[in-house]
Subunit: 204 residues, 2 copies
Amino acid sequence: MTAVPLAHPHSRQRVAQDGLPSDERWLTVRWKNLRERTVYENRWFRVNLADVRLPDGRHLDHYLIRLRPVAVATVVNEANEVLLLWRHRFITDAWGWELAAGVVEDGEDIADAAAREMEEETGWRPGPLRHLLSVEPSNGLTDARHHIYWAEEASYVGHPEDDFESDRREWVPLKLVPDMVARGEVPAANMAAALLLLHHIRLG
Amino acid sequence: MTAVPLAHPHSRQRVAQDGLPSDERWLTVRWKNLRERTVYENRWFRVNLADVRLPDGRHLDHYLIRLRPVAVATVVNEANEVLLLWRHRFITDAWGWELAAGVVEDGEDIADAAAREMEEETGWRPGPLRHLLSVEPSNGLTDARHHIYWAEEASYVGHPEDDFESDRREWVPLKLVPDMVARGEVPAANMAAALLLLHHIRLG
């Protein structure tokens, strides 16, 4: 992502001028975060301003947002149906299929958080969860990491506690996933990636 | 995503108490953004605090971050290889395969922005771009929208102007994509989704 307007840097020559070893090729593209300070914060995130050294030795002021990790979970049953939520997001004003997800609490195991969110949001308690994928939703701006888990069995424990987070919960055939994603019906990037990977794993 | 700690809301009953039409089912889950004010801003984004009405009539203070749209592009050649960048992200301190991407400028057409970023970051000028996918990287916190395009041809115009954004640019066989994604080698969520969809489209 072009986060900054820059003139053309002559990286390799400048690296040598900066006194950095020019024979370590990665140094030509690795940006170094020298220090950062918080310019705004609330209980959900911090906005920091970093002093970044570019490969050619120039310095750059770069904003970044530090966030808590997020845990995500779903289940695929024997019929190759995946448990999804149909919900509205007020910030983007868009409806879409999503997986259960939520912020990992202090000291909480990530897989435990994924299981907890799934039960709270869907009413289904997952069997043994396995790690599917970890992704960075916006790595040019934030340090957010979303960790996605899945199970092959689940038991229904009752109407979901967090029923205000979704309109309905449904078992959706995995075979429909690629067309759903292409039509924009899975707008969340992390969840589109997860569902397409599950489609590949289960249906090749 | 559970963005807020809440007791169990009895949505349907409370909606009626709030005077909202209880026969419109979506009202039971649609959160209404009544107003928002900016609490922090810089040239890249704004942090707003919204007054949100939940389905049961309660109000919630919810932070959100408003961002510019992002355009993303790549090319798949006749050999089913996809043009990717191998780059380091200093915020997450992670290496990964990415597609060319950047912020859409004021008044700029999104597909034009995608083509511009691809040429700046890879040195390849795409042929006719088609829309692949639009995703929301973090729809529980931001209004970010990433629009991903692809072409089936491209011409090399020279060493990329923005060569400081990636270590190298390579044509990677699409058939490798699912395993690359599963191993975490495509950490950006939007790009993992895009590459898995391209894999499905071209290799089924």
